[in-house]
Symmetry: C2
Subunit: 123 residues, 2 copies
């Protein structure tokens, strides 16, 4: 789920969220078709109760990161289901993953959620 | 798509967005199951390219309102499809509708998009 950031001088593959962060709020000017598709994809990645809970647990954890071992129990879903949701959040650019010993840790990608929030703010 | 706002002293039916506006950002504390379901429903209403374009046209119009007659052509969809998307946005509490003569006008509901943005902001 990478997108070509056509507004940059050097062509680079960036996570979808990077493309959104360059945009003005909805109230400033209407979205064009491509922008609407990108933003809808980000919102779809967020628009699931389990993914929102996982994201909020990571976001509210110290240093905005959490061990996968602390994510399964509060959400009450199976490990494969949790893994699927975490993968969707990573592919959309909201979470990053690192390994420490036997455990995987998930961290909030700085600015990713804010880039979506910025587009939605009307004030 | 109305929800019971259990946090208020007088039981009242409120649009879904009213329930979200009372919540702190994701980084403050994890969402509980009910909050995650409500927020996911709002994000799902937004997570469609045509709905995002319609919403952005209304949001960027003078007075944050637009005649339905000005919404069909830029989005390039049939009138019934446009009507369906506008209905979803109204039911979620993002748009309101009023009639003037033969035309329907859609207006951005003040604070509705911001209530979603507030939850997503991490900074």
């Amino acid at each position: 789920m990478l997108t070509y950031a056509g507004h940059m001088s050097t062509p680079t593959l960036l996570p979808l969220t990077e493309n959104v962060v360059c945009r003005a709020p909805l109230t400033r000017q209407p979205l064009d078709a491509g922008q609407a598709v990108d933003l809808a994809r980000l919102l779809k990645a967020l628009a699931d109760p389990a993914r929102l809970r996982l994201l909020s647990i990571v976001a509210a954890s110290e240093g905005q990161q959490a061990c996968v071992c602390d994510l399964t129990e509060p959400v009450g879903l199976s490990q494969p289901t949790i893994s699927h949701h975490l993968k969707v959040l990573m592919e959309a650019g909201f979470l990053s993953r690192s390994k420490r010993g036997t455990w995987a840790y998930y961290a909030l990608v700085p600015g990713a959620l804010d880039s979506v929030a910025t587009v939605l703010v009307t004030a």
